[in-house]
């Protein structure tokens, strides 16, 4: 779960990492009030969870006079499909030099990796690719935790005058990474203003699987929000065939197969494992909401999911809609309790494919041929 910049900064401030003076505004008037309190040039930052908001016009510097106008502009800008509801209004920092500090897991090693660089800013990935020696990094043993000698190494890119502060910020960010079950904790840029270090930006992604012991509420809205509350993994796409699969790998393979056969997926929906009939019904409700979709393809290979329970869910959905579906449904069902599942669906007149290739071909053919869809 990605936190908004302002949420991450609240946590940073609470844990002792210096952040710019500033607050959240819900409208241009509030933005003006906050700017007046700050009393200097400000920066207005759209609070959206997508990357690249700077280039999309989501970050603007402003004098007090222009704050209302500029924040109005930001509120009305759509950034990669997200319209900001909140703007973070902050003092404008005097940046002498920009640094990078990030922590995430190295998946293969299974260990946290902490990175710093004297070349902070949006080009950091480019720096890493072209001049890897400009990234200082340290792998941490998750049992032993981070040690001062590692932090000293990570502090070396920082100017001597603020090396002690850098040491503390790195130690605290690592503490936050562990304490908040983060997958990613990042400060880019970490600004040196000539006197001190300030976290100009803040990224904190909480591990979804740890939310049961962390105190964050999911904020996602729309179809994604509904899906995520059901425990599904869902992404909207722009094709015509809505896809429900079980397991990320199989669902991806289904998307791949659809596209290889000439179709285009309208979404990715992975129901995961051990889904009860109600869950399957919910998954159908979700994909049927997508107006662009013209046909729904269900692909379930029963393992920990049982085909009979999946079929029951489909039947519940079918009956809820009075036996009439506004988009045709192609079902591929095989694996655990396959016969029973097939029987349930055949009773309500839904054809069941046993073979994935045939199901995919049939779905693509029907979308292509039947212009009435």
């Amino acid at each position: 779960m990605k936190l908004h910049e302002y949420q991450a900064k609240e946590i940073f401030a609470r844990e002792g990492i210096p952040v710019p003076m500033g607050r959240i505004a819900r409208n241009p008037r509030e933005a003006f009030e906050i700017s007046r309190e700050i009393g200097s040039e400000v920066v207005l930052k759209a609070q959206v969870l997508v990357g690249g908001r700077g280039k999309a016009g989501g970050i603007l510097f402003s004098s007090l006079e222009e704050v209302e106008e500029k924040s109005r502009k930001i509120f009305s800008t759509e950034i990669k499909g997200e319209r900001p509801e909140l703007i973070l209004v902050e003092e404008r920092l005097n940046s002498v030099k920009e640094f990078y500090l990030g922590i995430t897991f190295d998946r293969s090693r299974g260990r946290p990796v902490v990175m710093t660089s004297s070349e902070g800013g949006v080009e950091i990935e480019e720096v890493a690719r072209r001049s890897p020696e400009k990234i200082t990094w340290v792998e941490v043993d998750p049992l032993k935790g981070i040690y001062p000698y590692m932090i000293r190494k990570l502090s070396r890119p920082f100017p001597k005058e603020v090396r002690k502060e850098a040491h503390e910020i790195i130690a605290k960010l690592y503490e936050i990474f562990v304490k908040y079950d983060a997958e990613l904790a990042e400060i880019n840029p970490l600004i040196y203003d000539g006197k001190k270090l300030v976290a100009a930006d803040a990224v904190l992604n909480i591990n979804d699987d740890s939310l049961f012991r962390q105190n964050f509420k999911r904020e996602e809205e729309g179809i994604e929000g509904i899906a995520s509350r059901e425990g599904f993994s869902y992404v909207t796409l722009d094709g015509e065939i809505a896809i429900i699969g079980n397991g990320a790998g199989l669902t991806m393979a289904t998307l791949d197969a659809v596209e290889m056969e000439g179709g285009k997926a309208a979404n990715f929906l992975d129901i995961g494992g051990g889904v009860p009939p109600e869950g399957m019904k919910k998954a159908l409700e979700i994909v049927y909401m997508n107006e662009k979709a013209k046909l729904v393809l269900v692909n379930v290979f029963g393992g920990i999911n049982r085909c009979d329970e999946i079929a029951q869910g489909i039947r519940m959905f079918f009956e809820e809609r009075g036996g009439k579906l506004d988009k045709p449904l192609v079902v591929r069902l095989t694996g655990t309790n396959e016969e029973e599942g097939r029987r349930i669906l055949e009773e309500i007149g839904i054809e069941v494919y046993k073979d994935l290739r045939e199901a995919v071909k049939s779905a693509v053919r029907r979308v292509k041929n039947d212009t009435s869809l």
Binding site: T104, R107, G249, G303, T336, R357
Partner: protein, 287 residues
Amino acid sequence: MILVSEKTKVLVQGITGRQGKFHTRLMLDYGTKIVAGVTPGKGGEMVHGVPVYDSVEEALSEHEVDASVIFVPAPFAKDAVVEAIDNSIDFLVVITEHIPIHDVAQMKRIAEIEGSRFIGPNTPGIISPGRAKLGIMPHRIFKQGEVGVVSRSGTLTYEVVDSMTKHGIGQTTVLGIGGDPIVGTNFIDVLEMFEEDRETRAVVLIGEIGGKAEEEASSFIKDEMSKPVVAYIAGRTAPPGKRMGHAGAIISGGIGTAESKIKALKKAGVSVAEFPWEVGRILSEII
């Protein structure tokens, strides 16, 4: 055949839960030697004729155990895994999904230190067809034979294995390393075992986008493997997944896409299938 056989004596942790109970039944039916189960507070009960203990220590005082299958819910899974490791169980199958990533990192390090191995978390398990199953796979699709299968994905494995079996190609062992970002055992560990296993004549690797496990496996295949490998990679058309910030990009160095994986595998001499159902056919041409 690697890691598990008809002789493997198995403990089931979390045996009294819904999944634990259901799959204990199916594993027993398959012939797996389940000797004991553990659920704290349920010591003294029986599940399908298997005695249940309060702790691993107590189970081990009555039974010899070679491996443990873990169905314990995510919040308590780390405890169960460490309990098994601390009691010197060498091989664990962690079925549980949604274990916090920091817990998995610790589990992995503890296993390394204590010299145990686990597969998963979030794995369908491991099966040596005709011999033993430690996991949740629908066993009817498997067939004893000469090809080893290793996969990051559960249901996709079934799809591929199904195509193999339909082509008459059986498996020595099929193992899911688990779908989580951090897993206890990676592709290379398993490829190494298949390379050394005398029964295995070819290997199937099933990967997906994200991480660099397949790229690392490619190097290993190129440098260390003599047996033919067939691969399938899911996600060629998938939307870009959660991007792990700059940090993730720096670590991965831009790899992790399906193209990068397929390219690396092909360079290592691996036949890469375009569809999961092609794997059976490709194999039948090779062996």
